[in-house]
């Protein structure tokens, strides 16, 4: 059986997989990291979003074997070891950006990538465009957008630039 060696949330793992094993299956079924969800079979909902080498991807649409040597971060890897939440998680809580919570792990991982990849700032419209790959059937998105805008200054350690507003 093929093997894949990768780093998940900072820890090196070597796992037996099949050719067809998806990254999300490796995370949930082999490593017990069930924070990453599966919400569709059409690659559209984004509940499964994780970071591979710092970039947000849909773990339901990537083979486990494609992550050989990669560094994967899941929702479980965001908070500090002492339990302090990541600023994005904290802002989701503060702004009531979740209801049932099913979409939340993917939303948060997608949002962290969005904020990290826009050091110049983000407009509300850019945030909405950046969430096109994440569906939420509960919140109506407004509070998610607010949470992301509120997390930007915390993650970049400065106020959001005026021009980006």
């Amino acid at each position: 059986m093929p093997q894949v060696t990768l780093t998940v949330n900072g820890k090196s793992e070597t796992v037996d997989v099949e050719g067809r094993t998806l990254l999300v299956e490796l995370l949930r079924e082999k490593l017990g990291l069930t924070g990453t969800h599966v919400g569709c079979d059409t690659s559209q909902c984004g509940a499964c979003v994780v970071h591979v080498n710092g970039m947000s991807v849909k773990s339901c649409t990537m083979l486990a074997l494609q992550t050989e040597g990669a560094a994967v971060t899941t929702i479980e890897g965001l908070a500090k070891p002492d339990g302090t939440l990541h600023p994005m998680q904290e802002m989701f809580r503060e702004h009531h950006a979740l209801q049932c919570g099913f979409c939340t792990p993917g939303m948060v991982m997608s949002a962290v990538d969005l904020v990290q990849s826009h050091p110049e700032g983000l407009t509300e419209q850019q945030i909405r465009h950046g969430l096109e790959g994440n569906l939420c059937r509960c919140t109506g998105y407004h509070n998610i957008v607010k949470a992301i805008a509120a997390a930007w200054p915390l993650m970049h350690g400065k106020a959001m630039p005026e021009a980006a507003e």
Binding site: G19, D41, K58, T61, E68, S110, G130, E132
Partner: protein, 264 residues
Amino acid sequence: MYDFTYLKPSTLPEAVSLLSSDTEAKALAGGMTFIPVLKQRLARPTKLVDLAGLGLSGISVAGGKVRIAAMTTHMTVADSPDVQKAIPALAKLAGGIGDKEVRHRGTIGGSLANNDPSACYPSAVLALGATILTNKRIIAADDYFQGMFATALEPDELITAVEFPVPEKAAYMKFPNPASRYAIVGVFVAKFPTGARVAVTGAGQSGVFRHAAMEEALGKSFSPEAVGNVPTDAENLNSDIHASAEYRAHLIGVMARRAVAAAG
């Protein structure tokens, strides 16, 4: 998903020989189309040959041409200052494909090999008169697209790069499906010293096509007014749950007018 053997060769000749020695072996690029197909058991390859190790990624601009290697992701094209400067319409098109997770993985080579009738890139390739470079030959855009999901590619032929001539102006306008962002109708217009080219995606029963009447009208006057009233025959257009053929015919006029306006 049926099981298969996953292979990741490190040279192009190796990849080609894996594909030509087994007709049931298939290439894998970003997987944004092929993995969903596999999940639905619509294909049953024996081997998946991952092209990610071949060094087929990158963008260069020289001699009035933008060359994009096959494994370059949509995100890389969208963010490329070189593409933004030379053919801004192409960077914008790439930035509007799917969502950012799809753009992080999906590639130009995969999109063109797949030739989905609602995909965005085929319209840019056809309207700009680009050239498809493969491991075997060079294929002109006008010869490459051969109907829905059909191309001039042979089973063991791999796209290595695409070369786009830089136009005087160009723009792409898409009326997206709100869930997937695929084009319900997308129109790419380009103006060259030799004339205008217009390609329509999302609408045709046999995939992307050039709109001769619009090209003629724009050849006389490259203006939104010139193109907005050119009618499109609904006969050979798609009807599905998203839009009727008549509605698509109407949208082609609207998208073309907006594209010409955006091209300036």
